[in-house]
Every structure is written in C-alpha cells, then in structure tokens.
C-alpha cells in the first residue's frame, strides 16, 4: 500500500509556495498594522499598583529569611489581613476584569483576522523528503481520513500549522526581537489574562500564609567567623 501518489506539480506551485509567501506577508502586515493602531498602553493606576504589590509580595516570600522574624510577621499581616490586607481580593472584583477583557476592541479584531486566514482548501499536496513513523499522522495529515496514505504526505492544513510555528523564527529575524509571532503569545495570554491579577494576588496570599520563617542570619554569623578565621591565618 505504499505506492507513490503522483502529485500534481501545479499543486506545488499554486498552493505550497504561495501559502508560505502569503503567511510571511500577512505576518509582516499584521506587525505594522498593530504598530500603527497600538496606542501606548494607558494602564490604570490600580492595575499598576496590583502588579507592584505582587512583585513586593513575591520578594517577601523569596527573601523572607533575611529579615528578622518580627519584621516578617508585621509584613505578613499587612499583606494578608482579612479586612484591608493588600492581597485580599473581595469576590466582586474578580468578575470585573474578565468583562473588561472581552470588550477590548483590539483582541476582537485579531480574532477575526485569525479566523479569516484559517480558511484554507484541503488537500494532500506535498511529500516530506524523509520517512516518518505512523505517530506523525495526526500532526501532518490533519483532515485526511485515509489511514493508508504514507505519513510523509502532508496535508495543507498541517502545512499551514507547520508554517505558523516555524515562521516564528523567521519573523524574529526580519522584524526584530519584539514581534516574533505575536499571535500565539496573545492566544496564550488571553486565556489567563482576565483572571490574572486577582488570581495572582490570591496565589501570593496563600504562599505567604503558608510560609514558615526561618531566620538565616544565625548561620551567617558562623560563616563570618569562618571567613575571618581564614583571613587571619
């Protein structure tokens, strides 16, 4: 069952290469459009403050053993206090952030653009020069339901996805470091963004609540002694 399928060269010329070229061009176009449309982010002071609180709380967690126990306890109360602690998020606020995210026009436009470029005709049109195992079938032949076709034959949809992830490197070369395939990053961001601030605050609060303070300075005194002893000798 491993006969070679004869592939029309016309398919190669008119689908494979134009698809890659068009993807590169669309990527570049999207980059410039986003640069033009992008107003500098005007962050809400509340969001900035929350970001900074998270950083400070994280510092506290990581370096807690460097400050005296009393100082640590004071700070923990300051952060985790049930009524007015910095990390305590009342339930009502969590919903707000998500609604805000969906009404952001930029992301809506990007989602539309992505859907447009998803419409690609299906078909089998190229063959990878090296042999592959059966496992790659799901990855490379997305949409073709024949199990007898050799795995080396790649469907166009799979070719599109391969390009999607592969051209990331190419973009970072052409467009400089900032915009290597913004899309995938945005998709990953969008999932976590809405709940992010309130969830990270809650996470930090839990971390701090659990933390046991173990003052490291006692050890330091002995180490200093060792250092000085070595110097004296």
């Amino acid at each position: 069952m491993a006969e070679d399928l004869v592939l029309d060269t016309a398919i190669r010329d008119w689908v494979l290469i134009p698809l890659s070229v068009v993807m590169v061009l669309i990527g570049i176009l999207r980059y410039f459009v986003s640069k033009l449309m992008n107003s500098p982010p005007s962050p809400d002071s509340k969001i900035v403050k929350e970001g900074q609180v998270v950083i400070r709380a994280r510092n506290l967690k990581q370096a807690a053993n460097f400050i005296p126990a009393k100082a640590f306890r004071t700070r923990r109360v300051y952060f985790c206090n049930e009524e007015n602690g910095l990390l305590h998020v009342p339930k009502g606020q969590a919903q707000n952030a998500q609604a805000q995210m969906f009404s952001d026009p930029n992301m809506a436009m990007d989602m539309m653009k992505k859907n447009l470029s998803m419409i690609i005709p299906q078909g089998c049109f190229t063959k990878i020069p090296f042999p592959l195992t059966q496992r790659f079938r799901g990855m490379l032949q997305n949409g073709i339901d024949l199990s007898t076709v050799d795995v080396s034959y790649v469907s166009s949809r799979s070719w599109y996805f391969l390009n999607l992830f592969g051209l990331r490197g190419l973009f970072s070369l052409i467009l400089g470091e900032e915009n290597a395939m913004d899309d995938t990053q945005k998709m990953m961001q969008m999932g976590g963004f809405g709940m992010d601030p309130s969830r990270s605050l809650g996470a930090e609060k839990d971390n701090l609540d659990i933390l046991q303070h173990n003052w490291a300075l006692n050890k330091f005194e002995q180490r200093a002694e060792a250092v000085l002893r070595k110097l004296v000798e």
């Binding site: 962050p43 002071s45 900035v48 403050k49 900074q52 609180v53 950083i55 400070r56 510092n59 506290l60 990581q62 370096a63 807690a64 460097f66 400050i67 005296p68 100082a71 700070r75 300075l217 006692n218 330091f220 005194e221 180490r223 200093a224 002694e225 250092v227 000085l228 002893r229 070595k230 110097l231 004296v232």
Partner: protein, 299 residues
C-alpha cells in the same frame, strides 16, 4: 550597580577617548546604557559631536538621544547655555513630546525656579499620571529646597503605587536617617533587603541603623547583620569589622554580669583582621586603632 566587566570596559573607553583615540560615541553609549553619572565627560565629548553638522548627520536618529543625554549632563554641570541649546533643538523636532516637556521642566529645576518647575511637572502629570520619572523629580525638588519632610511625604505617596521600586526605598531610607527617624529607616532597609538580599550594602546599612537604635535585641541583630556583610564581602569591608567590635562591646556593656556565653571569637577575630588591614594600608593610624580596640575590650 555596574558589574566588574562593564566597569573595566568603561574605564578602557574613557582612557582611550582621553588620549585622543576616538571612540567617543561608544563611550557615550556605554555611559547611557549603564546610567553612570559622568556628566563632565558627556559634555566634553558630546558637544563637539553635536556642534559638528557632519558628525551629527552621521548619527542618524541617534542624534536626538545624544541631544537628550548632553542636555541632562550639561544641567548637571550647570552649563545651562549648552543645555538650553540642546532642549531648543529637541523642542523644534518634537514639539508635543512628553520627554521634551520633562527636559524643559528639568531645565527650570536646574535654574533654581522651583515653583515653575513644580507647576510644569504637575501639568505633565495630568496627562500621564503614571510617569515614574516625573514623580521622582518632584521629590528631588522638595529635597533640593531642603524640605525633607515634604520629600518624605511625596516619596511615601509614590511608593504607595510603585512599591517595588527599590531605588525609591533607598532614597526614603536615607531621608529618614537624615531626620533621625531610625525606626522608619529600618523598615525601608528591610524592604531593600527583601528585594535585593545579596547586596552587602543593605545589610551594612541595616546593621548601622539597628546599632543606632540601640537596645540589647537590636544590638544583637545588628551584630548578625554585620556578620552577614562580612560574609558577603569576604571580610574586606572595614566598616562591618568595626561594627562587630562596637556591637560586641555595647552588648557586653548592656549585659554586664549576665550570661557571658556569647561567642567572643567573632569579636577578637574581627579585631585581628582590622589590625592586619591597618598594618597593610594605613600603618600610621595603627596606634589609634589599637587604642580604640583596647577601649572596646575593656568596656
């Protein structure tokens, strides 16, 4: 803070430029990247580049960054004429820019016109309420006028929003120390320790403040922080060595007759290292050192 490799590179470029070997542009770039404060050099080497139209056009778009850098450096050296020219050139090119607005307000500050500068900054803040640099400039104005309390107040307000800015915490700590509000200064140094636990300077400063606050518990804690400074600097920090001796003698004084199971070895080791250090670097002052160490041991 600049790491060692960058420091050597900076010095190398500096000597190269000083001896007329060219490379002024790389030197200025490195200064800007490392945010080192070498305003004399910037003005000395930056102005000829800016005044020569050929060299200026060779820079392309970086020309404006150089204008900004030379403007700030000129203000630092009180060469307000140069600064005014640079700001004027930038204003012509970028008329509605927030960055140029900041420079203009900075120029007012340099001239000593505090009220106008403050008003200019407030105007800029209306459009950009979250600009950190502008907030910090207002604190600097308060400090320059000698109004430490106002500076502290503005810094506290700034830190309510931007609480992860460790430079601001450091500035606040120094302000508190200058006003002898040591408890608050200790809090600020704790913040610094949390954000940068491996920087020995913070351990040292915290130890200093605790020692100044006094009280047996604080003294013991201070001793521990001096010890950690010694550990982090491998025993080269003279101030920490002194700190240990002073803490030990103060603790002895306070707990006279009580439990003497304190490890005295640290104290005597520190004294020995100090003596060796002085023998090596300042032998004339060795007698002074020995006398003071003797008084510590007695006390």
């Amino acid at each position: 803070m600049v790491c060692k490799a960058e420091q050597t590179e900076l010095n190398r470029l500096e000597s190269q430029v000083d001896n007329g070997g060219g490379g002024a542009w790389e030197y200025l770039n490195l200064i800007r990247k490392l945010k080192v404060r070498r305003s004399d050099d910037v003005v000395k080497y930056g102005s000829p580049i800016l005044n020569d139209p050929k060299k200026r056009s060779a820079l392309g778009d970086d020309e404006w960054t150089l204008y900004e850098q030379v403007a700030v450096a000129a203000m630092d050296c009180q060469r307000l004429d140069i600064a005014k020219d640079c700001v004027k050139a930038l204003q012509k090119k970028f008329p509605e820019s927030r960055r140029v607005g900041r420079l203009q307000a900075l120029l007012l500050e340099a001239k000593g016109l505090w009220e106008e500068a403050d008003k200019a900054y407030s105007n800029l803040l209306e459009d950009n309420p979250l600009d950190q640099v502008i907030h910090k400039r207002r604190v600097a104005i308060a400090k320059a006028q000698g109004d430490n309390l106002k500076a502290i107040e503005s810094l506290n307000k700034y830190l309510e929003i931007f609480m992860a800015d460790h430079d601001a915490w450091r500035e606040l700590a120094e302000n508190y120390v200058s006003l002898q509000m040591y408890k608050q200064a200790a809090f600020c140094y704790e913040e610094l320790l949390l954000s940068q636990p491996t920087v020995p300077l913070h351990h040292l400063a915290y130890g200093d403040v605790l020692y100044t606050l006094g009280g047996l518990e604080n003294l013991q804690t201070a001793k521990k922080y001096y010890a950690s400074t010694i550990d982090l600097t491998k025993g080269t920090n003279t101030r920490a060595l002194y700190g240990i001796c002073l803490c030990a003698s103060a603790i002895n004084q306070l707990s006279k007759g009580r439990n003497k199971d304190d490890k005295d070895e640290l104290h005597s080791l520190a004294a020995t290292v100090l003596e060796n250090e002085y023998k090596r670097t300042a032998p004339k002052k060795l007698a002074l050192l020995s006398a003071s160490l003797k008084s510590f041991k007695l006390a």
